[in-house]
Symmetry: C3
Subunit: 111 residues, 3 copies
């Protein structure tokens, strides 16, 4: 965690920003860079009867870290994505409950 | 928003219903048709030791709009999907929190 | 329901464990085996400037069933996945609200 799940941005594009992005996010989240995953979903989008480019959208799955951290995280992601020449990107955060997260079948948090 | 995320229905099939579907949903949600995205996820499903067709499933990601709007939205989606000859489709709604949604790194809602 | 949505494990691998896994989960959830779907998402992941293998991650989408059932469910999934020689797998549960779930446009639960 956090998991960065991407739609509408090519893996090759995400590659070029992955190192600075993950370094920045690790500082913001106060975690190791290897806690961060970037997964690009393969999608085909449609609109008005045609196949169209997928709208650039990133869903961040993580544990709740509060508004200030979230704001900084979103800014960092958007800055990096827009440095690719992508004009618009939407980002939504979804939270997992800590008592609903398991590593190798064991609950990660005992709270 | 809303985002319509599709599993188990081909993009070519979604194409043929995309225009009337999005027009109907825009009325139900009182928003522009271009707020609606339809993304088909590429998936491979398995059951009982074999690769099988993915069960038709649609996850709607949006902000909470209440039971009545949700009921009308689900009915509209199901009617259009079933017009494709698909006999069964399940639809689940997942809500994003308004304070956790960002456009270009800025929170969309200040509440 | 439950929906088992997989990243980073090949469909061919999930095939080989699908029968015993679903049988075990059906007992844990006290439901029919055909209520369980296993969908593998096609993804491409990046890290440190390179395309990398996707980290094995399973998101279980279901209705809340409580801690004890969740623990048993996670243990069963992890045991089967690790029997494939996969050393680490993370599992997160996400809950749908019962009043936000529809079959063919009709709410499944009237609560």
């Amino acid at each position: 965690m956090p998991h960065i799940v991407v739609r509408g941005i090519k893996p090759e594009q995400m590659c070029t920003i992955s190192t600075p992005l993950v370094e920045e996010l690790a500082v913001i989240c106060d975690c190791g860079t290897d806690n961060c995953t970037i997964d690009c979903l393969h999608t085909t989008s449609v609109f008005d009867g045609k196949i169209v480019d997928t709208y650039p959208f990133i869903e961040v799955a993580w544990f709740e870290r509060g508004l200030e951290t979230r704001d900084r995280f979103a800014k960092a992601v958007a800055k990096q994505v827009r440095s690719l020449g992508i004009k618009e990107v939407e980002i939504a955060f979804k939270t997992y409950r800590e008592d609903s997260y398991y590593l190798n079948g064991e609950r990660c948090f005992d709270k």
